[in-house]
Symmetry: D2
Subunit: 204 residues, 4 copies
């Protein structure tokens, strides 16, 4: 199995992004899974382009994108990507879309074709707090997720694609009030558990 | 310096207590600080008795008690212990006090004589989310904290005493909804940072 | 303008549903808008059938469904309905679907064709806390919302349809810990503001 | 019975204070209770002075102070006032104390001599979300509360004194994310329920 695993660069006021900290800690080969890691920019346009290039070049069996889910306390396995780019803050290009489609002439949303509930069960067995989430927001994370599923539906029907939102790192919430966080060790365990589950479970 | 460091046994529906998981991972000697570790029962009566015995026997310079702060997202350095035992759930003895004093004929509250704000600053510098808390509740944690400070005020005036509430472990919130947690690695870093600060800083 | 305004019966442990409390307080005629109010059952099958019957019979210009958003602190104007019925608890029929479609052979999701951001702005001007929400969940609320938009896309292209999640009533959270709530007076103001906005604003 | 009921002026970024909105809506005579209402400044020094003057002049049987409890979702009946003025933000005089006593040579804390648990029960029966709180913070609210109880302990032993923290108003959280609020109607019901309970219940 070949896995394309993406994290993001920091954005907003942050100097670190927990997604890249965890992704870069995953080995290049895990239980027979070849892992290619890509660090995406936090830009509506650049992230989608870079993801598509990486998919075209690497032809992965699975694309798993990881992003910072500000304020979330659990690992969130995302169920659905929406065709909506809408933001209250500019991205790292200074671009701030208002109710724009991610892709013109495309469906309102796509469901992930990963077994989201099975992944949550596997995470629970590993002792990692996790839930299925029904919203990846409408910021860059969702655009990347939508782009991956658009590729599944239009170009690579055998590819599977999913998105995982993770909490802040502890060091990111030092100056924030009552914000949950998760250590990189826990997120790495989560990603390894997801990889193991995807590699061993045959799902429809 | 001699430190008495306490954690608790599990209580309620839990099979683990994050305080003891972290406390038992602290070495017996840290930067010249001799550490004695005691695991307290979660009982209003037993915990206070065991704490007092340990203080009498070990004569520590500092007593630092650590407890599970259900639902908290940060390390909480407690400022004040109140002379109040009041609980919505029974302790591990099945005892459930209603608005009872911890100690008869004693003041309504005692402030910790640890430098609570300095400890929070040190934790922030170490990248650990932490705040000064103005309430340790009215359950067993608070009773133990009050007992330690009562000993300071009545028997060991040179002793310093404090209480630290820590979040759930990740594995504890797997079946809870939207509850923050903290990895033992992060809590151990917090305790080591507190010990280092207490060992090196002269405070009034 | 003709408006079909729906609320729900109570479900779970609750003896009241804030959505029906607010809906039934709206007059039958508001600023020239004729309002028909329907109380839906909290059942995946019954609610969709009753909604469709009401639409067929009343032929409203706008369908606005209101539901209890347990744990939410603000009025949530929902942006998207997903083709997913998935529940951790049975509905009032005892039916508990797992990852079932709301409608077979239908798209993964539909966007509301109400001006969701304009409605939030109008609510803010009226002093009502409100946000656009990107998830109506996967319980009965979402199924009703999806059904309404499915009717727009397949039968009544000129109809507009939206869903509003509202917080618990104050009396519902008396025995719940740290749960936000909203008084019926505030929800009624919210619904009146939404009706006024829909009645007066021409939107594309 | 004579009741001194206080609220506060706005502070921080706010243009309204929910405590004064509710207090001013209480009639001057409720069920035989004579109510004197005073609007306190949000200043560590001025509020305590004005409260003490009002107590000296009016000689109330009960002092009930009400304050904005930012971020709280329920009515909080405060159990304990601490001898600590410590703030992260300046008061309306620009004064920002760091770990200063409210009163020199005074105890670390005082318990309220109102029947706090009975008040919570009465509020629950009235359908108002409420809890006993073990911390009124260390800002101006706590200083006023401590001052009232200091007067009880040093000058007016028959007087009863308590403090109630209430949530934001709905209009205050319009621009805040996921903050709970409570309508003035609900807070007024809470205050009337408290007055009724204090007027009719004989407590030790």
């Amino acid at each position: 199995m070949k896995l394309l695993l993406t994290g993001f660069e920091p954005f907003g006021q942050e100097s670190v992004n927990p997604s890249w900290e965890a992704v870069k800690a995953i080995p290049d080969m895990v239980e027979g899974v070849e892992v290619v890691k890509v660090r995406l920019p936090v830009t509506f346009k650049g992230a989608a382009v870079m993801l598509e290039q990486a998919v075209n070049e690497f032809r992965p069996d699975v694309v798993l994108c990881v992003g910072q889910g500000s304020g979330r306390s659990e690992v969130n396995i995302e169920r659905v990507a929406i065709n909506m780019a809408d933001s209250k803050k500019p991205d790292n290009d200074g671009y701030q879309p208002e109710e724009m489609p991610v892709r013109a002439e495309a469906p309102d949303a796509y469901f992930s074709n990963l077994p989201v509930k099975r992944l949550v069960e596997a995470l629970h067995e590993a002792g990692v707090p996790a839930v299925v989430s029904n919203s990846a927001g409408a910021y860059v994370c969702n655009s990347v997720f939508y782009t991956a599923l658009h590729l599944v539906h239009n170009k690579y029907p055998d590819m599977r694609a999913g998105f995982v939102h993770i909490p802040y790192l502890p060091c990111q919430v030092v100056e924030k009030s009552k914000q949950p966080s998760m250590a990189t060790e826990t997120v790495v365990l989560a990603l390894e558990t997801i990889l193991h589950t995807l590699a061993t479970v045959n799902h429809v």
